[in-house]
Symmetry: D3
Subunit: 247 residues, 6 copies
């Protein structure tokens, strides 16, 4: 049930039974020598569609570009500045709220988006309430697929410490499952930097010269990707339904 | 050659031979009772990918949501405000320019985006030049698939005046070709409003109650869509190459 | 009937019979070696006043500085950034709407303003509707004097291809008619660049070194200027009345 | 020496001998039952042109609309919000500075502009210095014609306490001198409110129901206007030259 | 009666008897070789608390950082840009107004804040009225302690022309009274620059190399500081009560 | 070593040995029936000063108002919108960086600030690098006193589940230690809401009617506050030194 593959009259009908919508948000950023630049958007989109099917929920077009400023010293990365992303989210939610949606469930593929999403939600709640004090209040929630308990557990089992925290085998596996024709190989140095905090883009690249953060994406297989996909869809479907029904 | 399916090192290599990139931009807006809400993004994306293949050019992730404020009285429409879209484009191009790209070819699926794109380009040229006066200047161009001479001619031949100007049979045909499983039907009133200028969203809906502007999308077929696709890809590929080589 | 030469009580009285207002908008930018920097504002202002008289309509003070960023590599050019111009227009229209005006007819002297005007209108319609959902909707229209059919036809007859597209003989003629004491002369190279698309200011100046775009303003005379003035006033007066009466 | 009546090449020549420019700034706001809405812009423009002639200085197009939010409860008033005016001034000065101007003398006709002008100057100095740390610093100064010592003295002599502080006989006299065909009459209640501080527009109108603040514009004559004009031009010419030559 | 040392229920109770609040605003900027960087915030805060006690009024937390861009060439200075300060004040007053406060009395310790405060008030009145046209209007007033008549008179008597206009003995005396353990000494050159207008930060420092503007803070004593404190509290208490009771 | 109690020359000297600075940031928001509205700023400020003394580091003036939009349905709360707070932080750090500081350690007293701080840091790194590509990069870190391991452990031991997550006994204890004269009492209902996610301000108040989130601040004593203070100072001093020395 993709918004983009629906007509406005189908949405009108949908809104009679539900005011919830799922919004996939990813990022367009380097993912190490073998990870796809679109990894975060690809994963979020696929899982969001899975959740949409499982829960009979409308899924919005994917927000492909998120907050990845710290990756911009690597070619190919595109990022919004947080101030811009807040405005984008405000515009999205204002429109959708005007349509009648008031429960917004973001399925997120990128840790770097979380802070800005939270900041944006607070600002949107406030600004909408100021301009339309009598409208029914909206609610937003973020579901990070990579932080699902079942996903985390599997990643731990499969990769241990080699999961790392960026360009991880779990996300690479998921993209391999989704795009088997785009599995990349490269000779990865066995030793990979980890543990440095994230500051500026230049700083990031000097500490993480090939883009990976403590990860060994060589461990990834498409079959594992399928497992991650299924676990994330299942867990986030539950979370979405719980969100929708909470008072 | 999709940016999202590449690694950063592949982009680094690409930049040695070309500094051009194609950016599909669409819209998420009502397209009448049988048109998909994602029509403009779907068309732009497909054609951009075709041009990318034909010209061996990197294609960025699609900007799915554009400037469609006048459609926001129909449920399901999502729009950025022009001020926001200008910021989004500035963020995209600043990042990509930092990567090394300096020729930006937007393949656009929505007439309503054109004004804001033009305004944004002027502002981006200026702001980039102020902050980095010595950097090589960037250039942007918009290729509107629906305004290609060969496309326009075919639409005229096939549909005459029933092409209309929104939710047109040509764009509907193209989405039918791309998504044959999502061909929608509805009983369309034979008489459809046309000729009213566009003002506010409320104004728009009162003049165009089912969302169409003078069009008869019932005439569309997937086969025609294929023809539109091929013509647009061919013509925009030429335009892109000419843009790239112009001094 | 200039707003600036009226009292607030005269405006109050005017608003009882009409809610329309004419807003001249020009630009302050180089117009080649013999064109006045204020050409676009001067022409828009004079024609707007003519239309105001012909239609008994209030004319606002001229917006002298518009969107001319691409001319800023020539000394004397002043431009707003599109984001700023959008804010300016929003402030103007919000005030005037609060006064009771709701039909805004911009008489425009500069092609470079059109995109930003369109973008601004969309944003203003939307923002006003969000903040005051129950207020009567406003409508905006742009009348570009240089694109009037009767003007275009005359320019074609008089100058043919030497009309060009910037620092044109038609606009120079109009300023000569309005400011006969400020007719400038210079030895203009017979060969003048044309056909290059517009990118950054530096790019513009390198392609159009004396500021003209394919034009031969030497052909202009004050008498021709008078003809342009009269045609533009007549045609835009009709357009304004039609705008006002449209439902 | 008006910028708008010059060519870019004349400006280029001018900049070789001076980097100073005069910018008239006014307001478009109610001026009581007999004052012109454009009073502040009209006065600033005329005096600026006088100073320009006296000192052989380029005069920019008038900023007709300033900060008059407190007058917006009277029809016909147009105002920028201070945030917008700051951006406008930043855009003006950035362009002009890029041309080579670096001494900006604002001739101001409206007390309500002063605070925002000062705030804008501070922000512009800072932002220009951040983005172009090595460029020669710019300087701005405001010359308020109505606060000139010689003007103030004359107003006191002619009108005493009936000068008031808005819609004053001195400014009305000046517009009568400049626009003798637009002298307005109305039966002015002899008792006029004064002394209330300025808060919101609604507040303002409730305290000053006909728009005047303690003034009796009935006292104004065109001959007095001529005297004000000459005194203001003389005094501001001195101030401009002193500004230009200060180290 | 400090807001920060109250509970929300105490504020709820307070609002039943008064809708007034005192907001101290200072600056964090160089104050010459012996003046504390926090001088303006320290003075404003102490006097605001004194006024709060004398008038039984709630005092908000001090705005420690104001508009001091012209001091930023001296280490330790922190300043907001005027655009930012306007937003900050808008956020403060929108929240407090939502709580029920509608009389805002700023006790200000820094001349450089005045212009931006005034600009902000105008914008806030307008924006609040647009978004909540039916809410009771708010009012703002600035009380500058250093411009109190009684303070000014004492400074004149004690220091004559050596009071100067920045890093003055009067404000230094006040901080000495409040922080006797932080009295600084330095060998101050007897000759101190004065009379230069304020432009950019670099300009400022080149004209005022040690940060003082015409002042001799060596004259300050804690006892004098006590006198200034008492006079300012007394005079601003009267002004606050008058503000509160004005219609 | 408070910035506000230093002279600019002392800061100049300090910068020769260290480029680090501590910035306390709190919030001004309801803290239940017995918690002070300034709790978060009071705690952050006291601990920051302790860390400053322990590590011989300059401490900036406290940012008293943070991101507390979700508390604005309770009177007395003041909050910045995230977009504003990002601008404020950008202005602070740009100034301080220009002074020579490049290691910014925020000691934070409010969970609601964390997301916006993170978003701001990313944007500031990026914007500073764009405008000054050759300047030494800055680094920011947040130290949340209430999330220190040693603090958390003690709170668990003392209060168990009654610690809750807002208006907690630990923070109340700390303010009791710092302001023993402002210990508030109220009859607290033994049953307190907990576990609801945070959405809009109205939503928050309806779920948490007295402002507490699962906490029992009645358990707090000043003596416990002293322990929290000492633990937080010790732990954050270590963290600051580690931050400063990290490469």
């Amino acid at each position: 049930m993709l918004l983009q593959l629906s007509t406005w009259q189908e949405i009108e009908t949908y809104l009679e039974r539900s005011q919830g919508i799922i919004l996939p948000i990813g990022s367009t950023e380097q993912h190490g020598p073998t990870g796809l630049i679109g990894t975060d958007a690809i994963c979020a989109e696929a899982i969001a569609r899975g959740v949409g099917e499982a829960t009979q929920t409308i899924v919005a077009p994917t927000i492909n570009v998120g907050m990845a400023l710290h990756h911009t010293a690597f070619p190919g990365t595109i990022s919004l500045r947080p101030s811009t992303l807040i405005q984008v989210l405000k515009d999205y939610l204002t429109c959708l709220n005007r349509s009648g949606f008031n429960r917004f469930f973001f399925i997120n593929g990128h840790g770097g988006n979380i802070a800005t999403l939270k900041a944006a939600f607070a600002e949107i709640y406030y600004d909408l309430a100021l301009s339309l004090p009598d409208a029914p209040p909206i609610r937003c929630r973020v579901g990070n697929w990579f932080m699902c308990g079942s996903v985390y557990k599997l990643a731990k089992e499969l990769y241990g410490r080699e999961e790392g925290s960026h360009a991880t085998p779990s996300e690479v596996a998921l993209t391999q499952y989704l795009y088997p024709d785009f599995i990349k190989t490269a000779s990865l140095p066995p030793k990979v930097a980890s543990g440095y905090p994230i500051y500026s883009a230049t700083d990031f690249r000097s500490h993480y010269p090939d883009g990976r953060m403590g990860s060994n994406p060589d461990l990834a297989t498409p079959e594992q990707g399928k497992q991650f996909y299924e676990r994330a869809v299942k867990e986030l479907s539950s979370k979405y339904l719980e969100f929708l029904s909470s008072d």
